[in-house]
């Protein structure tokens, strides 16, 4: 632990607005429940994310990583503060509008359990496009192309139950990227995998997001993950307490000078 910087409006350099910022959050507070028993899962967080940039969010269990991710993605509405995604204010939108925005601008990868077990890999990956109204042939072709690029060529017709844990996560990555999102959010995407497979999947995820030009936010317990990302935010008790750029960061978008 080096210097722990007090957090607040303007306390984090990332809060400075740049022309290419794709996602900006200011003064995020998220309280679960109300009254004296309320938990402040987020306690004044500012984040700015540039197009194509990759950011790791680390911190102990219960520090608010998942909550932050869900607020940034427009899944949860914060108690106070604003989130701007692709120029639109998520916190002021109707649920239906946010759902549509998620469909077009955001991709998700979770630890496990997001693929439908009865669908073959290519249909699982094509699903977001079909949900957005793209015709099936085009959606499937795009999904197969992505699966191939992620090293799953030949496995397109297997169902999740017939794939290894690492392969399943690659299908999930393909699904997250199939709609050409501007931001991909991943919550402990390698949490259910062994060390080596986890590293591999993470390399795949960051590489694929970079090639697709999508910004990436990865929540993880594992400090080693940070070196795959351009920037790391360390959280504790609902605040971003430390922020640093990886020394050997891959050329992924511009970091923010500290």
């Amino acid at each position: 632990m080096t210097s722990i910087r007090p957090n607040g409006a303007g306390g984090v350099p990332g809060a400075s607005l740049g022309a290419v910022d794709i996602l900006t959050a200011r003064g995020l507070v998220m309280a679960y429940g109300d009254g004296p028993g309320a938990t402040r899962a987020l306690d004044g967080v500012d984040v700015a994310l540039r197009a194509g940039e990759s950011v790791a969010v680390t911190g102990p269990s219960g520090s608010g990583k998942t909550t932050l991710l869900h607020c940034l993605a427009g899944v949860l509405r914060p108690t106070s503060g604003t989130v701007e995604l692709a120029g639109a204010d998520l916190t002021a939108m109707s649920d239906a509008h946010r759902t549509r925005l998620r469909r077009s601008a955001v991709g998700f990868v979770f630890q496990s359990g997001q693929l439908l077990p009865e669908l073959p890999a290519q249909e699982n990956a094509a699903l977001p496009l079909m949900l957005a109204g793209v015709d099936r042939r085009t959606a499937t072709a795009r999904a197969r192309e992505l699966l191939g690029a992620l090293g799953l060529g030949g496995l397109e017709l297997r169902r999740p139950g017939q794939l290894s844990g690492g392969q399943v996560q690659r299908v999930a990555i393909a699904r997250a990227l199939v709609g050409s999102p501007q931001v991909v959010f991943a919550d402990e995407p390698t949490g259910a995998l062994d060390q080596a497979t986890g590293e591999e999947v993470l390399g795949t995820l960051t590489g694929a997001a970079r090639r697709a030009g999508a910004a990436l936010v990865v929540v993880t317990h594992d400090p080693a993950v940070a070196r795959w990302c351009g920037r790391t935010l360390a959280m504790r008790d609902g605040r971003v307490v430390r922020e640093f750029r990886a020394p050997a960061a891959p050329a992924a978008g511009g970091g923010v000078p500290s």
Binding site: T99, R102, P128, A192
Partner: protein
């Protein structure tokens, strides 16, 4: 052993993720199954009593046999319903059972916890079914057979048959629960892993051919059979064959639905249709439980739609007329009971699927899928097989009665009556599939972050 018991008691006190609805549905299912079994058993008892009074030479001797045909038609859907309810119990316990394993419970202990769960619900449901039966008996007694209504006492069952019915419901639930537990092998690490589904063998077609041939042979020999051993024995042979056909039909139905699912999946253009089709392929038996009963009874009822016409034109034999008319009434009652069973069965099956797929639905919704699309997929998954199987059954039965077209034309009310009943039954099934919508809405509630 006592550890498992204490764990179960502790779990019982806490509501699980699905809220109260699954438990309520399971109890309703067991109650409906018990009620159906008791009601038809009461009918058999009443007709047996009347037959004993009337003597062996009268047509009354045929009624117990006809009643047992309707029992044969309803026993399998009742048992299937009990099974579906037990599976629902297992489905919503999956995750908690896996967690119990993680903290050191043996698989025997977790199994016991699940069995206690299913058993308790079965007993509660069966008790409710017995009460329901008592309450409904006066209404059922209003039905007119052999020219008169029933005395409620004729229909009321003694304690022994009631106890037997309750025991049967309990056994069915425990056996299905045990089978369900085997399919969901809860490994200590990770959540429940679903074993791959077995594909249906095409060999299922074989027994159908055999019974079909037997049926044809028996039908041809029916005249001489009736002359040789009496009409009663001939009807008994028919009843056995009918029950056999029913069992086979249950073998074939899932195969048909999985084929339908494959065809649909290949041609689906929308996400909702694709999801529905893949679910049909994944679990054709589950889909069949929802629609099979309706389809079968629609077929039987369609065949009997000529009955009003026959009794109207054929003036001579008064007792024979009554027999025909009563057969029609019996078919109608059977249709209604089957529709209720099918509706509850669909509701239960859909509820367990919603619970099973909750994490995936949530992930889809996060990725921008409207809840409307998820609803649409589920409703397609019900009405497509319903339309194909029940509609197909109706058409087939019309083909069967087509030689009697003149009779039908003289009294089209028979067709109308059965069409209305079949449509009502289908509507009930669709309604039941909507009942699990709140479960889906709850499972994609994003204010509870996915973990």
């Amino acid at each position: 052993m006592s550890g498992a018991l204490r764990t179960w008691l502790a779990l019982l006190r806490h509501r699980d993720s699905g809220g109260h609805l699954p438990a309520v549905l399971a109890v309703v299912a067991f109650a409906a199954a018990t009620w159906a079994v008791l009601t038809v058993a009461g009918g058999v008892q009443a007709f047996t009593g009347r037959a004993r009074l009337a003597g062996p030479e009268s047509d009354a001797a045929l009624y117990p046999l006809l009643a047992s045909v309707s029992v044969a038609l309803l026993v399998v859907p009742s048992a299937a319903l009990g099974g579906a309810a037990a599976r629902l119990t297992v489905a919503r316990r999956d995750e908690r059972l896996a967690r119990l394993r993680l903290v050191g419970a043996t698989s025997a202990q977790t199994g016991l916890v699940a069995l206690l769960d299913a058993g308790l619900q079965a007993v509660a449901g069966a008790a409710a079914g017995v009460v329901l039966n008592l309450l409904a008996t006066p209404a059922v007694a209003l039905l007119r057979f052999q020219g008169r209504a029933f005395e409620p006492a004729e229909l009321r069952l003694g304690p022994l048959p009631v106890a037997a019915a309750v025991a049967a419901v309990l056994v069915v639930s425990l056996v299905s629960c045990a089978v369900g537990l085997r399919r969901v092998s809860t490994t200590p690490l990770g959540v429940a892993q679903r074993l791959p589904v077995k594909t249906l063998s095409r060999l299922r077609v074989l027994p159908v051919l055999v019974v079909g041939l037997a049926f044809a042979a028996a039908f041809r020999g029916l005249g001489s059979l009736a002359a040789g051993v009496g009409l009663g024995a001939a009807v008994l042979v028919l009843a056995v064959l009918l029950a056999g056909t029913f069992a086979l039909y249950n073998l074939l139905g899932p195969l048909l639905l999985s084929l339908l699912g494959r065809v649909l999946a290949a041609r689906a253009r929308s996400a909702a249709t694709l999801l529905a089709a893949r679910r049909l392929v994944e679990d054709p038996r589950g889909a069949w439980r929802g629609v099979g009963g309706i389809a079968l009874v629609t077929f039987v009822a369609g065949c009997l739609s000529v009955v009003p016409g026959m009794t109207a034109t054929d003036g001579g034999d008064v007792e024979g007329d009554a027999l025909l008319r009563d057969t029609g009434t019996g078919a109608l009652v059977t249709l209604v009971v089957a529709a209720v069973l099918a509706a509850v069965s669909t509701g239960v099956t859909q509820a367990s699927r919603v619970l099973d797929a909750a994490p995936q639905h949530r992930a889809l919704h996060l990725a921008g899928a409207d809840v409307r699309v998820l609803h649409a997929a589920r409703s397609r998954e019900t009405w497509v097989p319903l339309l194909v199987t029940a509609g197909g059954a109706a058409l087939t039965s019309l083909l069967v009665v087509s030689p009697l077209l003149a009779v039908l034309r003289s009294a089209p009310v028979g067709v109308l009556l059965f069409a209305v009943c079949a449509a009502g039954g289908a509507g009930l099934v669709l309604l039941a599939s909507r009942a699990s919508r709140p479960l889906l809405v709850r499972s994609v509630d994003l204010q509870q972050p996915l973990r």
